[in-house]
């Protein structure tokens, strides 16, 4: 640790210091889990608390501390006067300490649900999360929420700190029970790298020194773990080059450079690059810095590049590897964290800032909101302070981006209120919807209109939705036969058939169902581009996904057909014997039994199967389709 007393130690430390690496982490836990105490302890044990601060701390501890005559470490970190009065941490505070190998920046964030925004803020720059649990209380709703948020924001390394072991007598079995429960939950939400450390912040056990009170724990102390955990800070370097242009450097007519922070990849003089969104290519001639010209620069460095020829490039453009550019789009599905007291107003224009691009944007009504305590997806018309939801966003100009899962800097954005200028939301792009200006698409000279004209038809998607056994496939088949006889070029996309090929890697979890529908949507879109009338028959139980497919298509081309059959009737028919299996518990996630079906609210066509035959239904659909064209 720093500040050792011997001269040699100082020499060693001084020699190593400039070569330290940096680890940023976040601590999360509920108010009473001992988070501030833990951070205070980390600072204290790493000798970051100096004599005058210690004297102040001792005086404060006696005056307003909660630890009697002992030092109340929490007072070290609860910075703002208001917080000291209320005894809670409201805002994100950043702390610093270092060991001989690493410098650490700790984002200390509050635990209450009403401070979700602060936790998300602190997590956005963190490489690792320490989730505290009070060993007496075990896994609480808050614990799950913190784990979920850390995972949502893309933190891969998670430490479960089972704290206050002193208060349960350092009992291994009790600790183990907590670990089992938490691990099951963590696995269910996708957390893979989980390390568990039993500790006592108050006594310093297993923080900077091994505890003699828990001989059964043979793993690393928290500090040892933080010091040695492999942080893939280099992972971004392995991706293709991405550098958002911040500023054009033009000191005189002879020099024109493009300044920015490289957020992925490596760049060298001679590399062929592409400027997005224009798509123009050029070659890097020099990497200019104050010290010297560089032979290469990597993700994480701020540099200035010059090109071999005059290419238009300005703030907001992104310089990328010519042969593997990111996407450009103006419609996205995004996960939003609402940060403002003023709730989301769907349709209202906001500023969207992503990397160095600032564009006008509006948000559709949320597809759903996530209950951060149960992870249930709830219907929502808006998002209020601290709410997390998924919604489509439309921008007024194409944006160069990567999905957040691939690159935080090109996938994370903020929304800014155009009147108050407040930062109202943080967003993470999941994927693009209609890629209106995807410049590296092959330019095709025969247009979709031309192809449709050749067939004398208007391309459409007839989207049949309804319970299993409702009669979707039966009616859809009849519709296709009728259209075929009328010289219409059709194609039937059948759920079961696609699951034998394109979608054979997908199961029936909610996530897989969504992906299943997304792929069907993409295929259907290609077919409408080809001029075809596409007929699909999928249960497609979620409104949000049907909306997603609708959003992919040109206006008016998506025709939603709700085959409305009561569950009892469908189950009675049970053509494939699936309801029986589901009822017997042999088939999980079966729509209508243990997975919900969200009926359409405003389908273009509703077919009440109790009132008409399949033949009548098919005629109704064909009439609607051709009558409307």
């Amino acid at each position: 640790m720093l500040g050792g007393d011997t001269r040699e130690k100082v020499h060693e430390s001084f020699a190593q210091d400039p070569h330290k690496t940096l680890l940023r982490f976040i601590t999360c836990g509920s108010v009473d889990d001992g988070k501030s105490t833990l951070i205070g302890r980390l600072l204290y044990d790493s000798k970051m608390i100096l004599e005058d601060q210690l004297a102040e701390l001792e005086a404060d501890s006696k005056r307003i501390g909660t630890q009697g005559e002992n030092i109340d470490f929490a007072l070290l970190v609860d910075g703002l006067a208001a917080e000291r009065e209320q005894g809670i941490t409201i805002d994100v505070a950043y702390r610093f300490f270092s060991t001989e190998r690493r410098k650490f920046i700790v984002a200390d964030t509050p635990g209450h649900e009403q401070y979700t925004r602060n936790m998300v803020t602190g997590a956005s720059t963190a490489d690792l999360a320490v989730i505290l649990i009070d060993a007496r209380k075990g896994v609480l709703i808050q614990t799950r929420r913190h784990a979920y948020l850390a995972h949502l924001i893309g933190i891969r390394n998670v430490v479960l700190a089972v704290n206050k072991m002193d208060l349960i007598g350092y009992d291994q079995a009790k600790c183990q029970a907590i670990v089992v429960e938490f691990t099951a939950f963590a696995n269910s939400i996708g957390i893979k790298d989980l390390v568990v450390i039993p500790m006592s912040g108050l006594g310093g056990d297993n923080i900077a020194r091994h505890s003699d009170k828990m001989p059964w724990y043979t793993g690393k102390t928290l500090v040892e773990h933080l010091d040695s955990v492999a942080i893939d800070v280099n992972v971004d370097q392995l991706q293709p080059l991405r550098m958002p242009v911040q500023w054009v450097n033009r000191p005189n007519l002879d020099f024109r450079g493009f300044s920015g922070l490289i957020c992925a990849g490596v760049v060298k003089p001679g590399d062929t690059i592409r400027v997005l969104p224009s798509g123009k290519t050029s070659t890097v001639s020099r990497i200019v810095t104050f010290d010297a010209e560089l032979s290469q620069a990597v993700a994480g460095q701020s540099v200035t590049l010059t090109f071999s020829d005059e290419v238009d490039c300005s703030r907001g453009d992104v310089i990328v590897a010519a042969d593997s550019p990111p996407q450009v789009a103006d419609q996205f599905e995004s996960t939003l964290v609402w940060l403002s007291e003023e709730p989301l107003l769907p349709g209202r224009p906001y500023w969207l800032k992503l990397a160095t691009q600032t564009v006008g944007a509006s948000v559709h009504a949320p597809k759903y909101q996530v209950n951060v305590n149960t992870l249930d997806q709830l219907a929502a018309k808006t998002l209020e302070l601290n709410a997390i939801g998924v919604a489509n966003i439309v921008t007024d100009r194409p944006v160069v981006f990567e999905p957040y899962a691939i690159n935080r800097d090109l996938g994370g954005f903020i929304l800014i209120d155009k009147i108050s200028n407040a930062t109202v939301a943080a967003g993470m792009i999941n994927f693009a919807l209609r890629r209106s200006q995807n410049i590296h698409w092959q330019a095709i000279e025969v247009s979709r209109e031309g192809r449709a004209a050749l067939k004398h038809q208007r391309p459409s998607v007839l989207w049949f939705t309804g319970l299993s056994g409702a009669g979707k496939s039966t009616i859809a088949n009849l519709v296709e036969k009728k259209l075929h006889r009328m010289n219409r070029h059709t194609f039937m996309l059948d759920g079961d058939n696609l699951r034998h090929g394109l979608n054979k890697d997908l199961g029936f979890t909610d996530a897989d169902r969504v992906e299943n529908i997304r792929r069907v949507g993409e295929v259907a879109k290609l077919m409408t581009d080809a001029g075809i009338i596409v007929i699909t028959a999928f249960i497609s139980p979620f409104r949000a996904e049907r909306q997603m497919v609708r959003d992919m298509m040109a206006p008016g081309e998506f025709i939603e057909i709700f085959v409305d059959t009561r569950l009892s009737v469908a189950e009675q028919r049970d053509v494939k014997g699936l309801y029986k299996k589901a009822r017997a518990g042999k088939l999980a996630n079966f729509t209508g039994i243990d997975s919900p079906y969200e009926a359409p609210i405003a389908a273009e066509i509703r077919i009440d199967t109790s009132g008409m035959t399949p033949e009548q239904a098919a005629t109704l659909v064909v009439d609607e389709l051709l009558g409307g064209s």
Binding site: G79, A93, T356
Partner: protein, 304 residues
């Protein structure tokens, strides 16, 4: 392409972050300025600005809010650095403080700081119409700093409201503001005192000689070891300045800045001493201890 991964050191990452912040400001501000206090943090900040915009000269002026009570060595150093970096230097002295002859000896540190620095800064920003001002504050300096944003928003009356701070996610900074409002930007937010010294050493950045130990004339007042920098220092009857080998950890107005005895006359020695020191940096600053939560209060009023 053969890929050999390069692991950036913590100083390289801090440098890249600070440069990124400065470029964001220049791209989005109408009229930026860099507060230059002549101290070590200012020295690092100025150095980073020169790196951020090279080969251009940083596209904003330097602003020194002068109190007329800085060390003489600081004034010399300031003028020399301004010449060297080629940036325009604005020196502002609050005319009211000047007229009333405000000084720390007769008026106390609180009023002295309030009029010369807090008020002086506000006047200078308004007079020149600067909408963004860079400051060299670090989060490790003081408890309330630990929670301040990199882009710290000021109302039209230049007040800081800790409850209305904008969330800062990833590397995204919201620089939008209404007319009359302004932003203080702290590119060194994530640096510690040790980082500053190591960076100064690694980059060979010029600093005021007072940071290095030398024999200097001193007296002890109220527990602070003060340097008698000029003849305005009111010596008590029979008091004779004593020559001591001293240096400073922070530099401000000489009557308010405590020195300490040290033999560290070179940068490596200073860093070594830092690594074993047991007191904090602002310990030698009289103004921080005026009243409890005093930094937080000063900041709300507009102090940097």
């Amino acid at each position: 392409m053969a890929l050999e991964k390069i692991t950036l050191t913590h100083l390289q990452r801090l440098e890249a972050e600070a440069i990124h912040i400065m470029r964001e400001v220049v791209a989005e501000a109408d009229k930026a300025v860099m507060l230059y206090s002549i101290g070590k943090d200012s020295a690092v900040m100025l150095h980073l600005a020169r790196k951020a915009f090279y080969p251009s000269v940083p596209p904003f002026p330097l602003l020194h809010i002068d109190t007329t009570w800085k060390f003489r060595a600081m004034y010399e150093f300031r003028d020399q650095m301004a010449r060297e970096c080629g940036m325009h230097l604005i020196v502002y002295q609050n005319p009211e403080a000047k007229r009333r002859g405000i000084n720390p000896f007769e008026h106390g540190s609180a009023l002295h700081t309030e009029l010369w620095k807090t008020e002086g800064l506000k006047q200078a920003l308004v007079q020149h119409g600067f909408d963004v001002a860079f400051g060299g504050a670090r989060r490790d300096e003081e408890k309330s700093r630990a929670k301040e944003r990199v882009f710290s928003f000021r109302s039209a009356s230049q007040r800081w409201d800790p409850k209305q701070q904008r969330p800062e996610l990833w590397h995204l900074f919201n620089a939008k503001k209404a007319k009359g409002e302004s932003i203080r930007v702290f590119p060194l937010s994530n640096w510690t005192e040790l980082d500053i010294w190591q960076y100064i050493h690694a980059e060979n950045i010029p600093i005021v000689s007072l940071y290095l130990s030398a024999p200097r004339p001193t007296v002890v007042r109220d527990g602070l070891l003060l340097m008698v920098d000029d003849d305005r220092f009111p010596l008590h009857l029979g008091e004779v300045p004593t020559s001591r080998s001293i240096r400073f950890r922070t530099l401000g107005c000489y009557p308010l800045t405590g020195a300490f005895e040290s033999m560290a006359a070179t940068l490596p020695e200073v860093i070594r001493e830092m690594l074993v020191t047991r007191t904090s940096e602002r310990h030698g600053r009289a103004i921080d201890h005026d009243q409890s939560a005093s930094m937080e209060r000063k900041k709300q009023e507009g102090y940097f």
